[in-house]
Structures are given as C-alpha cells and as structure tokens.
C-alpha cells in the first residue's frame, strides 16, 4: 500500500513537472530544436547509407555519422513535451504523439537503442553487422514516422 502511494505520488509529481505548460516562446524553441535535430539525423543517415551501400565504406564518415545520430537520438527524449503539436505552429508532429504517449515513447526508446547499437557496430570493423544495425535503425525511424509524422513538416 505504501508502495502504491509512493508510485502514485511520484507519478503525480512527474506528470506535473512534464505537463507544466510551456510558454509559447518555449514551445517554439523546442520545436525549432526538434526540427533541426531531426533534419541533422536525416542528413547523417543519408551519409551513413551512402557509405554502407558502397563496396568500401569510408569508416571516418560511418563513425561520425553513427555517433551524431546516437547523440541526437539521446536528446530526442526532450523534443516532445506536451504543447508542441500542430496547434502551436507548423510541425510534422501529429497530435497522436500525446494521445498514445506510451506507444510513442516505446517507439522512441526502440529508435534510441537502435541508434546506440548502430554506433557500437560502427566502432568495430564488421560491415555486415553495420548493415544489419543500419536496417534495424531505419525500421525504427520509419515505424515512428509512419504513425506519428504528418506530411506537413516543411
């Protein structure tokens, strides 16, 4: 019972902390960082893909791209506070993100784990493993984008 009380209390505090409404300025700032971050992830993913499909990947590019993606993926945890949806400003983030928050967070976690795994593979020398991790990471990107990103994000 005490444990339940603790969990409830913790949840209430955590929710209050997360749900503290953002000012419009703060929301726009988060959305800007999110947009730039996603764009940079995309840019690095393109560079990574181009190396991996070539017969002989240029490892410095593979490593820096994988590291950049893993780093930004970690930051993505802070990119989706409530109040940064399409009702605030033009964004590809669908309202469903905050309606199915548990599912969204699970997908984000999958992507973050996949990005870390890709980064770990890039530190090694096995291109086969890198390709497999890269495919897994792309699938994680796509799973979330298909469900939670609208086409209105330019």
């Amino acid at each position: 019972m005490r444990r339940v009380t603790f969990v409830v209390a913790f949840s209430v505090i955590a929710t209050a902390a997360v749900a503290a409404p953002l000012s419009r300025q703060q929301a726009l700032q988060v959305m800007h960082v999110r947009h730039e971050g996603m764009e940079t992830i995309g840019k690095n993913n393109k560079a990574l893909h181009r190396e991996l499909v070539s017969g002989s990947p240029f490892m410095p590019t593979v490593r820096s791209s994988a590291a950049n993606i893993a780093n930004l993926a970690g930051q993505a945890t802070r990119w989706f506070p409530a109040g940064t949806g399409p009702d605030v400003a033009n964004t590809g983030a669908k309202p469903e993100i905050w309606q199915n928050q548990a599912d969204f967070i699970a997908k984000l976690r999958t992507f973050q784990a996949a990005a870390r795994a890709m980064n770990a593979a890039a530190a090694g020398t096995d291109v086969g493993v890198m390709n497999a991790r890269f495919d897994a990471m792309d699938n994680a990107c796509k799973a979330c984008h298909d469900k939670y990103r609208s086409e209105m994000h330019h």
Binding site: N45, A47, V53
Partner: protein, 226 residues
C-alpha cells in the same frame, strides 16, 4: 468529318490501336495512380518499384514508336505546326493520334520521362529510401531532385493528365468515343486506311530489351553501383 454509312446494325469497326499500345497506356495510367497513392501511404519502397515499372513501359514505348504498328510510330503522328493548324480547320483525314493530340502524347511522354529520371536519383528526406541511381550524385543533388520530383508531379504531370481527360470529355460530348477505342483497339475509321499491324515477335524483342535496360538501372547502372 465524313462518317461511313453504317452497314447493317453497327458501323464497321477497324483496328486503330494495337494491343501493346493499349496495354502500355492503361498500365501507365494505373502505375502513375499507384505511385501517387503509395508514396502518400508510407510505401516508398512500392513507389520506387512502381517508378521502375514505368521506366520499363517508357523504354518499351520508345522502341515501339520505331518498330510498332503504324499508329504507334512516332513518325506517323509527330507533325509540324502546319499540320496542327490544318487539323483545327478540319482538314485532317488520318487515323490514330491527331496532330493536336500528338502534342499531348509527346508532352506526357516527356513529362513522365523527366519524372522517372528525377526519381531514379532521389533520396527520401530521412535517408531510408534511395532511387537506384542516387549514389551516382551527391546527397544534396538527391535532395534537390526529390524536391523537383514533387514539384514536377503537381505542376506538370497532374495538369497534363487533367488536360488529357478534359480533351476526352470534350470529344465525347461531340460524339467521339476515344476511351472505347483505347480499350477495344477498334474504331469507325470511315474511309481512311486502317492501322498496319506490326508482328507480335517484334513486341516481344522490345519487351526483352526494355526489361534488360530497366534491370541494369536497378543494379545501379554503369558498372553496377559505385
């Protein structure tokens, strides 16, 4: 235009479009529709294969325009401005594409060829999907190609399709059933000479060559990838 007096119950229908020309036409219509649908429903992989199928159709049609049946040949319908003017004055007596319609055919063929070429070197914004020749150009070029690919569809392909459909409706209101002829391959040609059909095995050779070239593109062209 003089119409043949019907003999019996129906006017005499004669061949005007051969089977390959009709199949290419309807597959092209279906694949363009599918390409549009698939890319807007998270099936970019299907979208790319659809584009490659369209490439195959264009390659076939290009060759068929030199060795196909009379009405399919470029030389039979690409005419100068004077022919277009004469057609508008009602002085045209041929069969197949009219001099004016031929302009539409050419515009659509070229527009779709440009669209496919842009798609071949495009990449999606996430870096997940790549046209088979995207590795031959820089990442920035692939991004630009995708932007133009989207613009080209909305600003060139869709208006040309709209014009094409509008023209068919216009002729239908004047009593000419162009769609039916494109399905059955036959029309009431009046006194004009009917289509001269090409041999079936010529089409087969064109199909094989079109598939071979498309396969080469899928492999990543020149010496297969970078």
């Amino acid at each position: 235009m003089p119409r043949q007096i019907p003999v019996g119950d129906a006017p005499l229908k004669q061949p005007v479009w051969d089977l390959p020309t009709r199949v290419v036409h309807w597959l092209l219509a279906a694949l363009i529709t599918f390409s549009w649908w698939s890319v807007h429903h998270h099936h970019t992989d299907w979208h790319i294969w659809s584009g490659i199928a369209i490439l195959t159709l264009l390659l076939f049609r290009l060759m068929w325009g030199f060795v196909g049946s009379s009405t399919a040949r470029w030389s039979s319908f690409i005419r100068g401005p004077r022919a277009v003017v004469n057609y508008l004055k009602g002085k045209w007596t041929g069969i197949g594409h009219t001099p004016l319609g031929a302009l539409s055919v050419m515009a659509m063929f070229l527009a779709v060829a440009v669209q496919v070429s842009l798609g071949l070197i495009s990449q999606d914004e996430d870096g997940i999907f790549f046209g088979p020749l995207a590795h031959l150009v820089s990442s920035d070029t692939s991004d630009k190609a995708r932007d133009i690919h989207e613009f080209w569809f909305e600003s060139v392909i869709v208006p040309l399709i709209a014009l094409h459909v509008a023209a068919i409706i216009f002729y239908r209101l004047r009593g000419r059933k162009l769609t039916k002829a494109m399905i059955t391959g036959r029309a009431d040609l009046g006194s004009a000479a009917p289509m001269r059909a090409a041999r079936w095995w010529v089409a087969l050779i064109c199909i094989v060559i079109a598939f071979a070239i498309a396969r080469w593109v899928v492999a990543g062209a020149p010496p297969f990838g970078s």
